[in-house]
Symmetry: D2
Subunit: 139 residues, 4 copies
């Protein structure tokens, strides 16, 4: 079962074509991912030797099926599509009253804090333990 959340389209999300600007769906995805992680419980600190771990994105994509409009209440389903050793891919389905709006994916890589260039690390066991029951299958 995917995690479900909703999002109300704001005036500032639209563009002169009268629809939600395509780049905003990536912000919607990120907020839905955060809501999903919050739903799993805040007891696990995403830290590595005391510093917060980063999850920079390495890939993002979206297919737009139907436009979304100001004040629409968008349904968003979030699934873990792939849980790798160092990365996680989330899949998102956007719809309004059953009409599909968009489908997107975002892949993030677990990185050591404060490294420049960023240095990927294995997803901590505590975080993996949260994600696996939520649908992430190890790979």
């Amino acid at each position: 079962m995917p995690f479900h959340t909703t999002r109300r389209v704001e005036f500032g999300d639209t563009d002169m074509a009268g629809i939600v600007h395509f780049a905003n769906f990536f912000r919607y995805m990120e907020a839905a991912e955060t809501a999903f992680l919050r739903s799993l419980g805040g007891s696990v600190k995403l830290v590595w030797e005391g510093q917060p771990i980063g999850f920079p994105r390495v890939a993002a994509s979206c297919e737009y099926l139907n436009p979304a409009f100001f004040e629409d209440l968008i349904d968003i389903d979030v699934r873990i599509e792939k849980l790798g050793r160092k990365s996680v891919t989330y899949a998102f389905e956007f719809s309004r009253d059953g009409t599909p709006i968009a489908r997107g994916k975002v892949t993030s890589v677990c990185c050591k804090p404060g490294t420049k260039p960023m240095q990927s690390i294995e997803i901590p066991a505590s975080f993996r333990a949260l994600l696996e029951p939520a649908g992430g299958t190890a790979s």
Copy 2:
């Protein structure tokens, strides 16, 4: 030869990870596409029976290779990857001093103005005539 433009990273483009927020690359792509079209000349009006034609996006994707930082001057190369009967796909390469930053694609469909739901139409011959010499191969 791709079309080349540049973009200076603004403070507001960054996020708390200290790098350009991933969704902003889609705004960068759109602005680079506009600059590319402007470079082809403004003599062709994108109208259909007197109304401006729309080019809603049907797909967008990006791979992130290295982070971009505040005040970076990003090089952006724009190519037409595919020129279809009703759609056009642009490909973008982002780099800084030769270091690759990101690679993205956006596909837009030519649509009749003011239709809801949007109704796709063939790309007008005048617009196609502009795009083909710029590297778009009919398909």
Copy 3:
């Protein structure tokens, strides 16, 4: 009594200083204004001879008292500060657990649809009737 709503700070709302980027408070204000208007009921259509009326902003301001951070749940109070013949000024108070975050104002002018340059008109009686009980005092 002001209208109350909340807003969860998203990752993409932050900047490299680790706090909500100052421009985003204007988006927060707009969304809070929309939520306030929605709370007044959707029975009144904001139309003028069948076309939707516009409310372009003529002034906006914000004072920043304390930074807001990722995942903060911000309390937002919305009041009508002034209800003019053709314009309305909203005032917003942002706080987190009682700590003041910011105070802002936005003034919008009622405009005829589709005019360029925009042409201001009196706020329709039906809309005024909604706003006055909500705290707008005619002036």
Copy 4:
């Protein structure tokens, strides 16, 4: 003499009213401020005991005089309106072909790096020495 820069309006800057969304003028101000500071020369490092100094905003305001549209080339004049002991206020004038578009102000306070809550400090002499010839009058 104010510092002058320009800005091309992007598609994603517009909203469903067909004009630049009012919140985006604050991003335009910030980018113009950065361009202004860059024009003063990069030889002065804004550091305090080796760490980059922050300039969080404490106030921002804008009056909107005429709408701006997609692809407009906006002229932006930047002046230092007030140079205080710990703060600086910039004033911005936006116009298009001589038509005024907007007028805005942003006030920032000089803060010690990495303090939470932020702790204001005096503007370093080296930075003040840059700003004063640019029109900042001590106060």
